[in-house]
């Protein structure tokens, strides 16, 4: 059996605000294998954002353990976490979060800059990533020259460009209309099916979650249910 991409065991996250203690995560056990396509759902305040931050190595659990690709994040310092985000995780955000004054290809190359990849190699990889999201003809457009769906596809290309172990999407359809949202989900599906990319979507939208293969429901900082979705259809 290969190493799971995500391995959380008894993970908790407690915020201390003065005298107040907020337990955002209360002992989460979760394993995600390479090549999975799953969703984490939960109402706001359920702890799903905290869980996403922990999985995305933006935050560290205060208790329990988390390993991504077998690497235990408890032992890592801030710089090592940054490197881990760079190599292992591709983020896709609700509001795209593209750098406004830069072209699509420059946006997509951004993670490679921090990886120390040469300019020529960056360009080649970014072109390939944009081609994977069908935006080869929009490489030199700036975000304000792109539609919402195109922006999100640029963001997905940026997430893919480092060939990460995990594509982590936070409400990726939240800022899009229904049709465009469906196209984005279909793109994730295709990337997962054709290239075996592990995709984790965090959403409050059960309908979106239903399109993945596995839905994990978070309530009150705990996993309330973890079930396989019966039928996946576009």
């Amino acid at each position: 059996m290969s190493t799971p991409v995500i391995a959380l065991s008894g993970a908790s996250r407690v915020y201390e605000m003065g005298a107040e203690r907020i337990e955002a995560l209360r002992g989460v056990d979760l394993e995600v294998a390479s090549g999975e396509f799953l969703a984490i759902v939960g109402p706001s305040g359920s702890g799903k954002s905290t869980l996403m931050n922990v999985i995305g190595c933006l935050d560290r659990p205060t208790g329990g353990a988390y390993a991504i690709d077998g690497i235990d994040v408890r032992d890592l310092d801030d710089d090592a976490l940054a490197d881990l985000r760079n190599k292992k995780i591709g983020f896709v955000f609700q509001s795209f979060n593209l750098l406004p004054r830069q072209t699509a290809i420059d946006n997509v190359s951004l993670p490679l800059r921090y990886a120390g990849v040469s300019r020529r190699e960056r360009r080649r990889a970014a072109e390939a990533a944009l081609a994977r999201v069908d935006l080869a003809d929009r490489m030199d457009h700036r975000p304000d020259q792109l539609s919402g769906g195109q922006k999100q596809r640029v963001a997905i290309a940026r997430a893919l460009v480092t060939n990460p172990s995990l594509l982590l999407a936070d409400e990726p359809t939240g800022a899009l209309d229904q049709k465009t949202g469906n196209e984005i989900i279909a793109l994730f599906e295709r990337l997962n099916a054709d290239a075996g990319v592990t995709v984790l979507i965090v959403t409050h939208d059960r309908e979106v979650a239903q399109k993945t293969k596995r839905t994990i429901t978070i309530v009150d900082g705990r996993i309330a249910s973890d079930e396989a979705n019966v039928e996946v259809s576009a």
Binding site: L58, A82, N86, F91, N97, Y114
Partner: protein
């Protein structure tokens, strides 16, 4: 991440906001410009003054009446008890073996008149050696000679300005009579044109024998005594000798002060150096203001780009990457301002040099280095705080920032 990458990111950001960047650089631009200009002008004036002093003659000593133990050159005190006289001049001429010439100087002024034309000029009573001690050159005729001094002759040597004003383009003034305060003097020589020194017309002077000047001004003393050491290396022994000889002749009382030309140069150097320093210090205040401007804009920029910082952190930027991004941007902005200020300073200095060809004003290499150094320092100092603020942002908070 390499420095080149950080520079490239900084230029991306600058390109994104060209107007704001330019306005931000203005503070540093003006600061560097004023430092360059004021320090450059200060240096030029100092060089000009020193050059002028050197043109006055070399290895000169000036003996003033009255004693002064403290350093620094001051004009002779008029109210001193024991004044210098022609006897002191003779003693120095006779016994000053280290000296290469001595001349009394009796300063005064008087009305010169030729026919109906009158002109007030400075009249200097001198000895025959004055002409070579002060590097004067004769245009026509001769200078005051020993006979003139010994026999209290009414001889006068005048400068070109006086010739122009009193004689016009008439035939040679040589042999003509000038009345100085109603006493007739015969023109024996005309000095060569020397031009202005410190704005003072060196050709508007009249030289008469020191003895005649004493008669004219009704004094028994000389204002001071000018002497010259044989060469550069004997200036100090010559001073010692002058002190010995004079004190001996004056009954053991050293009630006089000897200044060397170096003392005067030192003084000028000191005054000009202090002046330049203060000018530079005042100009630096505008640099400080420029730095505060950069810091202010960078703080706004960090706030504005909080989300961008979050995204960069999410895709793998380390703490130091964010720190350097903003620090390099501040330094680049400051450096652009500095270079623009340098360019503007260069142009201004060229313009000043064009209109004031006498002033050796130039942009020295050290001033260029200073301008670049200052703008680098301003950039780093004003960038550190905003950059730390950016780098210390928590990635999760930064990504959530609206």
């Amino acid at each position: 991440m390499s420095l080149f990458e950080h520079l490239s990111i900084a230029f991306d950001s600058i390109r994104a906001n060209p107007v704001r960047t330019f306005l931000t650089t203005l503070g540093v631009l003006i600061g560097v410009f004023s430092v360059i200009l004021l320090v450059g002008l200060g240096d030029a004036v100092r060089a000009y003054v020193l050059e002028t002093f050197a043109g006055v003659g070399s290895n000169l000593l000036q003996i003033n009446a009255g004693r002064q133990e403290t350093r620094g050159f001051r004009p002779s005190s008029g109210t001193t008890k024991n004044k210098l006289t022609m006897r002191d001049v003779e003693v120095l001429e006779r016994r000053g073996f280290m000296l290469d010439g001595v001349s009394p100087i009796v300063l005064g002024s008087g009305e010169l008149r030729v026919a109906e034309l009158r002109r007030n000029v400075i009249v200097i009573g001198v000895g025959p050696r004055y002409v070579d001690l002060r590097n004067l050159e004769m245009g026509r005729g001769r200078f005051i000679d020993e006979d003139d001094v010994d026999h209290f002759r009414r001889s006068v040597v005048i400068g070109q300005t006086i010739v122009q004003e009193l004689f016009g383009d008439k035939a040679s003034p040589l042999g003509q009579t000038i009345y100085i305060a109603s006493t007739p003097f015969r023109v024996v020589g005309v000095t060569k044109k020397k031009g202005k020194t410190f704005g003072f017309d060196m050709d508007d002077l009249a030289f008469v024998p020191a003895t005649s000047a004493q008669d004219l001004f009704d004094v028994e003393t000389v204002t001071h005594i000018l002497a010259r050491a044989k060469d550069r290396n004997t200036v100090d022994p010559a001073i010692a000798e002058v002190k010995d000889v004079l004190a001996d002749a004056r009954g053991g009382e050293a009630d006089f002060t000897v200044f060397s030309q170096d003392d005067m140069m030192d003084m000028v150097n000191n005054i000009m150096g202090t002046l330049t320093f203060f000018l530079g210090a005042i100009a630096s205040i505008s640099l400080l203001v420029g730095g505060i401007g950069i810091m202010n804009i960078m703080l706004v920029s960090v706030k504005e780009r909080t989300r961008e910082i979050g995204v960069r952190r999410a895709v793998g930027a380390r703490w130091a990457d964010i720190l350097l991004q903003f620090l390099v941007e501040a330094v680049v902005v400051s450096l652009i301002g500095g270079l623009l200020g340098l360019g503007l300073g260069f142009v201004t200095i060229r313009i000043v040099a064009y209109f004031q060809p006498d002033l050796p004003v130039a942009l020295s290499l050290s001033n260029v280095a200073m301008a670049i150094g200052f703008s680098l320092a301003v950039g780093v100092l004003s960038g550190v705080f905003p950059a730390l603020r950016a780098a210390d942002l928590d990635p999760v908070d930064a990504l959530r920032y609206e």
